[in-house]
């Protein structure tokens, strides 16, 4: 780890000023400290934002509002989360380990870096780590990589489970920075790699995530997160699917679906959603819709299995939404 200066701030104004001066925000630090130790990340100034009043979970009407500094474990166990958006609790619990969830913040979870092994391998080319150096994964070991949204420069997946649920639920993120405050869909927080994979999110310099807002929807009660991985817990997804269905009189009125482990960002499955609306919630409809999840998919040498696993996982996740009592 290279030497750095640690600055603790108590107000958002101080935090943003410190970040403008070149500081990097740190909250739980569960990704950043690890990558700093590996010298993949080399910040010279850290801004400790844990004292800012950005924790907590509240509701506004039926909207769930999650503070950026709320911890994963706290959000997963909160009665409002469980009552209004059980999908979020389920996705959170499927991510990381209890020790990490006790520390990792919601804002940090969204901004965590990719888990591509070459990102951490300092002697391998990686366009995220060293722009223009090349991508070792595309011609190398890419079993865990994306089949959707990859470019010739990067195919790393976004590792957050929470983000998959938030994208399915049309959650928005509220951010504050030198130019003031703005809100936008969580989905738009993440960039496609294109020719600039080192740019992973759309925050402006010194912008700080304040909170995440999850609108209420009739499908919220019948929502599940299914994560398929190499072991049954504490592992990143090979494929995951967040699915929510609102069914009325035997007809699907609303479908919300997003997938993790398959895209270079959490991937909203709009074609599959559209294929479900107006149909009966049965296996045939689910299978037909799930085939649409592969629109535009381009497997690499080692991840072709995801083109089979994704639709199967989606079908099962959709069935699970019907099993919620």
């Amino acid at each position: 780890m290279i030497p750095f200066r640690l600055q603790k701030v108590r107000t958002e104004v101080d935090a943003i000023a410190a970040a403008r001066a070149g500081g990097r925000y740190i909250a739980g630090g569960t990704t950043l400290v690890d990558l700093m130790r590996e010298e993949v990340e080399r910040p010279e100034r850290l801004v400790d934002i844990n004292a800012l009043p950005l924790g907590g979970i509240r509701t506004e009407d039926d909207q769930l509002v999650i503070g950026a500094l709320a911890r994963m474990s706290e959000v997963a166990a909160h009665p409002d989360t469980l009552r209004l958006q059980p999908l979020i609790a389920e996705a959170l619990i499927e991510g990381a380990s209890p020790q990490l969830r006790n520390v990792a913040s919601i804002g940090g979870n969204l901004l965590q870096r990719a888990r591509c092994p070459y990102l951490r391998m300092l002697d391998a080319p990686c366009n995220k780590r060293v722009p223009g150096s090349g991508c070792a994964a595309i011609g190398g070991v890419n079993v865990g990589h994306a089949i959707l949204g990859a470019s010739a420069h990067c195919a790393a997946t976004h590792p957050s489970d929470l983000a998959v649920a938030l994208v399915a639920l049309d959650a928005t993120v509220r951010v504050r920075g030198p130019a003031g405050e703005r809100s936008f869909p969580v989905e738009l927080l993440f960039r496609l790699p294109e020719a600039t994979p080192h740019l992973e999110h759309t925050l402006q310099p010194a912008e700080l995530i304040i909170e995440v807002r999850v609108p209420h929807d009739a499908s919220a009660r019948h929502a599940r997160y299914l994560k398929v991985r190499d072991r049954s817990s504490y592992e990143f997804a090979l494929v995951s699917v967040a699915a929510a269905l609102h069914v009325e009189k035997g007809v699907i009125r609303t479908a919300r679906i997003a997938a993790g482990g398959v895209g270079t960002r959490p991937w909203r499955m709009r074609a599959s959603e559209q294929a479900l609306v107006g149909r009966a919630p049965d296996r045939a409809s689910f299978e037909e819709a799930a085939q649409r999840s592969l629109d535009g998919a381009r497997p690499l040498s080692g991840n072709g299995y995801k083109a089979e696993l994704l639709p199967r996982t989606m079908v099962r996740a959709l069935e699970m939404t019907r099993e919620v009592v």
Partner: protein
């Protein structure tokens, strides 16, 4: 960073003479402490490309560890784990992967189980930390320690302090209602000997004792 000379009790130069007079643990404690100090010349720190940084001075933190308040000067880069082991000599907490993947370094910070290898000590000024050394009351083991013995919940023992601290957190959180529940909520602690059945049984028994 320069590595300590290999500890070889068969050698008879002055260096190994010193070493053989010390326990193995003491030897590593002293050499690693000296090296970590040498690696951190206060006020003279530089980045790899040579740019001086103005204020990489030792940070001062106060930590309450197992009920005792300690004031320590640390480098901002030091983890809670390294402060426990190398500054304070509390070597019960183990360094496994040092990257947040294995759970061996689990301690309780302000009552919650966390990974001490990913916690920067400088960000924990004023924190209250419980380590494996803080569990037994004199000769009386903590109920979960006793259950680990009863169920032979370890083989080599290296992951055990982290397993026990994590198990205490797991029980306190209410996630020890069944063996399946325990296995899921203890999955952040890896045991390469594969003592999982004993670990799950020990946590289940201690959880039951607590409720009784």
């Amino acid at each position: 960073m320069k590595q300590p000379d290999t500890f070889d009790p068969g050698r008879h130069d002055a260096h190994s003479e010193t070493a053989t007079l010390l326990s193995r643990r003491e030897f590593f404690r002293i050499t690693s402490g000296a090296l970590s100090m040498a690696a951190v010349p206060a006020g003279l720190a530089q980045t790899a490309d040579g740019a001086a940084i103005d204020a990489v001075l030792p940070a001062h933190v106060q930590l309450t560890i197992n009920g005792q308040t300690r004031s320590v000067d640390i480098d901002p880069r030091q983890s809670v784990l390294d402060v426990l082991r190398e500054v304070l000599g509390l070597t019960g907490t183990k360094k496994g992967c040092n990257q947040g993947a294995c759970g061996a370094c689990t301690v309780l910070i302000d009552g919650k189980r966390v990974l001490s290898c990913l916690a920067l000590a400088a960000m924990h000024d004023g924190a209250s930390i419980t380590t494996i050394e803080g569990l037994a009351q004199n000769d009386r083991l903590h109920p979960l320690q006793a259950a680990f013995v009863d169920h032979e919940a370890f083989q080599c023992g290296y992951c055990t302090p982290g397993q026990i601290m994590s198990g205490i957190g797991c029980i306190a959180e209410g996630h020890a209602r069944s063996v399946d529940d325990i296995r899921f909520w203890m999955s952040g602690n890896i045991c390469r000997c594969g003592a999982y059945p004993g670990i799950a049984a020990a946590v289940a028994e201690a959880a039951g004792r607590k409720e009784a």
